[in-house]
Symmetry: C2
Subunit: 138 residues, 2 copies
């Protein structure tokens, strides 16, 4: 169990610390995305808020998690698939936000569609966020 976490950190050249293991564990044992606030709450009073900020930032930089752009303008994070490497995120799957319960999740199996753009634009990536009702809320 713990080994998975530690491996993931090691692979990303991060030293293994309590807070990193704890926060990474939250992501792994949680379907759906987490906002900064969720993490602070679920981690208990154990960690300083600043540590949470710094840890999340580090994870994003290393390609361990990615942010999800939602229209409610809350920053949410979710685990990246393995094909994200340092500085290069490749999360071209679709995200889903439930209008009712607010749960935000990655639909890893749903690829973002290719969008045809007008002349002159050079697309490099696309973010797709679907909102509606999730399994539990409909």
């Amino acid at each position: 169990m713990t080994t998975d976490l530690e491996d993931l950190l090691k692979r990303n050249h991060l030293s293994i610390t309590e807070s990193r293991k704890k926060i990474l564990g939250l992501f792994i044992n949680h379907t759906g995305a987490l906002a900064h606030g969720d993490i602070e709450k679920q981690a208990g009073e154990k960690f300083d808020r600043v540590t949470v900020y710094r840890t999340l930032q580090t994870f994003v930089e290393k390609g361990i998690i990615h942010t999800i752009p939602t229209s409610d303008n809350m920053v949410r994070y979710a685990l990246c698939k393995d094909n994200c490497t340092e500085g290069h995120h490749h999360d071209n799957h679709v995200h889903f936000v439930c209008k009712r319960c607010g749960k935000t999740e990655c639909l890893e199996d749903v690829m973002a569609p290719v969008v045809q753009l007008p002349k002159g634009y050079s697309p490099m990536g696309v973010e797709v966020v679907v909102n509606g009702l999730c399994k539990d809320c409909k």
Copy 2:
């Protein structure tokens, strides 16, 4: 000219004030989306920051502007098309964010594609944000 602005405000049952005309004017005379900060700057020192917040909020509620969810997690706003009414946004077009100059715009003519979701999800809307290089930057 001014009449357009005032009509739009009237149609939305908003009283016509200096700040609303000014801020709405910024949106109309600007290709691309505006962040709160842009508006404060471009409006000069003329308006209180709080007024900007409240005006933007009112415009969103009335369906005059909509927010654009970008991955850099900055709140940006852009004009809605006419088919948005109070409480009901229907901006199912694609947005484009330039990685180089940061310009964010609505591609009104590009409809968001239909995404096939796994069983159990009831989609209601979809947000699509393409990033890459815009006409001027490529």
